[in-house]
């Protein structure tokens, strides 16, 4: 049995991990299909009489201070959270893998330069950067939020990748590939990447939840994706002044956030336990 199939079997036996994976799949479906079925999340049908109304047959999760439908906004906001979470995690993984491979395979001077740079980058408070950028760049598109979160989030991955590359660089199969005339990029792709797949998948999957929380924090401050486009973060901001009289406005996106992040963390924990049996407790 191949190691991948064995890992898949371990994952399938782990109830928490499977629950996480099922919820993630359901959330992806909701994010893709939901916006087609719900009313316009920006519509303000009756700004006076529909302000802060509790859940009803017409508005299942009530309405917000701008008389917009909370359910529709919660469903539409899933696209931002999942898109930024998954996209930024993938991009950060790619960047980290690229730099880690370059540092591990290049000469000692390049290696030193890259890794000292990563040391400095890791000592910087990421959130203050993002705050500074988005404070000035109001209404940045979701793609910019994704790219900037990824650009400030690959440092740890590059260290992991470099460590694996250093441990494999002197191994016989790499020496054999070199003897057959293969060069750095070919060795990286054909011989090293298969060994890096497991740690990369684990670190990226555990990163998704944190990125979703980071994006939510930014949009709670009104930064990043521009209101009135719905995000879970800015929906909670909309509801924070009427917490006591209309708690459903902040509750719906908050519960959606917790559920999403719990699901990704369950699946991520499961992937780690399945792919790295030594780390499993």
């Amino acid at each position: 049995m191949s190691p991948w199939r064995r890992a898949a079997r371990r994952f399938a036996r782990n109830r928490g991990a499977m629950a996480g994976a099922v919820i993630v799949a359901a959330l992806v479906v909701v994010a893709l299909v939901g916006p087609l079925l719900t009313p316009d999340p920006l519509a303000q049908p009756d700004p006076v009489r529909l302000q802060d109304r509790p859940p009803s047959a017409a508005h299942w999760l009530g309405t917000d201070p701008f008389s917009r439908d909370v359910l529709s906004r919660t469903v539409n906001a899933a696209r931002v959270s999942l898109g930024v979470g998954l996209g930024a995690a993938l991009l950060a993984m790619t960047l980290g893998a690229g730099v880690g491979l370059a540092a591990g395979l290049a000469g000692p001077r390049t290696d030193q330069l890259l890794m000292r740079g990563v040391d400095v980058a890791m000592a910087m408070p990421r959130i203050f950067f993002l705050l500074a950028v988005f404070a000035v760049w109001r209404g940045a598109p979701a793609a910019a939020v994704l790219v900037l979160i990824a650009a400030t989030g690959w440092f740890q991955t590059s260290r992991i990748v470099r460590a694996v590359v250093l441990s494999l660089r002197e191994s016989d199969f790499v020496a054999a590939a070199r003897a057959l005339g293969e060069r750095g990029p070919g060795i990286a792709r054909r011989h090293l990447l298969p060994h890096l797949a497991a740690p990369l998948i684990v670190s990226a999957s555990l990163d998704v939840g944190n990125i979703i929380l980071l994006e939510a924090g930014l949009s709670y401050l009104g930064l990043g994706v521009r209101p009135p486009a719905p995000t879970w973060g800015n929906m909670i901001m909309d509801g924070k002044d009427v917490l006591l009289s209309a708690p459903w406005i902040a509750l719906a996106p908050g519960i959606a956030l917790v559920l999403t992040v719990v699901a990704f963390n369950l699946a991520g924990d499961g992937l780690r336990d399945a792919l790295d049996p030594r780390a499993a407790a």
């Binding site: 408070p125 000035v136 109001r138 009104g222 917490l243 902040a250």
Partner: protein, 324 residues
């Protein structure tokens, strides 16, 4: 030891300089105008705007602005706030104490609670206690800190009226209180914001502590300790935990950025007069000098956290030598 300190301080200085450089460049290069945060869309006469820009040197070429900022910085000056019309150093200085109090208490509480919960889980892996605490820490670890803060505010402040929800003191009575009464007053105001920050991070520490402790319990020295007939509690606390504490202390040092980020969100919810609040206000006012200044202080705090963690690890683990 001294060489270690010197090297780490040099590294810290380099990273702080990098923070300042990058934040400065990002703020000035990103699209957008300074000083127009709240007046966005409002009509400001071009002449007024130009005069303001000239006053703060914002009409000069970027390299010149950067050089001037760096020169000021070397003299200990962080520039002038565009909005508050006070030196940035004063603004930040006044806010530093409350943030260190809030963050310090939250860090200490989360570390104690996290290590205790992680140890309780690792003592009986796969037991009902372990599973229950595991679910609890997983959920708390996944909660956005600002949402947790709002929920605590809703329940314990607005619904039950147990605790105050705004500011650091009660302005109506604080000055009339005895010294002990003042401490109690601040402590009561501290509970909810500190709990918001601490609960989430305690869950992170607990998850981490559980796995390092389980790894450490698999070691040869644990078998030896058990073979000597030592009671299990002694084995867990004196032998396993001692070795497993070092990674958690390192993580605690690395968690400073988390507390700083959390303070931006939590301080604005509870009206805590700290660095996070200053950052939050500066963002909305596009107060460039204050934004760069807070990033600078954040960089210093992060570097200090890393340094303290290294020293704590060396103190906890006699195998670690700092003079390598």
């Amino acid at each position: 030891m001294l060489r270690f300190l010197a090297r780490r301080l040099l590294f810290a200085a380099v990273s702080v300089a990098a923070v300042v450089l990058f934040t400065f460049l990002l703020v000035h290069l990103a699209p957008g105008e300074p000083m127009l945060g709240s007046a966005e869309g409002a009509r400001v006469a071009p002449a007024v705007l130009a005069r303001q820009r000239a006053l703060f040197g914002l009409d000069r070429p970027l390299p010149e602005q950067l050089a001037r900022y760096a020169a000021n910085l070397l003299h200990g000056r962080l520039g002038q706030s565009f909005v508050l019309h006070r030196p940035v150093a004063d603004v930040i200085g006044a806010a530093l104490g409350p943030t260190l109090l809030l963050g310090g208490v939250a860090l200490l509480v989360s570390l104690l609670v996290g290590v205790a919960v992680g140890a309780a889980q690792a003592a009986r892996p796969r037991s009902a206690t372990d599973t229950l605490l595991g679910v609890g820490t997983l959920v708390l670890y996944s909660v956005p800190v600002f949402w947790l803060g709002l929920m605590l505010l809703l329940v314990f402040g607005q619904a039950l009226h147990w605790l105050p929800v705004a500011g650091m003191t009660d302005p109506a009575i604080h000055d009339a209180l005895s010294p002990l009464g003042r401490v109690v007053d601040v402590a009561r105001h501290l509970v909810l914001p500190a709990a918001s920050l601490a609960l989430v991070q305690a869950a992170a520490f607990a998850r981490f502590q559980r796995s390092t402790l389980l790894e450490s319990l698999g070691g040869e020295f644990i078998r030896a300790a058990r073979a000597k007939g030592l009671p299990e509690r002694w084995v867990l606390l004196r032998h396993a935990l001692r070795g497993a504490l070092a990674p958690t202390l390192t993580l605690a040092g690395l968690s400073v950025p988390y507390f700083l980020a959390g303070s931006v969100l939590v301080e604005s919810i509870f009206g805590w007069p700290g660095l996070g609040r200053v950052t939050y206000d500066a963002i909305f006012a596009r107060d460039y000098n204050v934004i760069v200044g807070t990033a600078l202080v954040a960089g210093v705090l992060v570097a200090l956290g890393n340094l303290l963690a290294d020293l704590a690890v060396a103190a906890a683990d006699p195998r670690v030598r700092l003079d390598r």
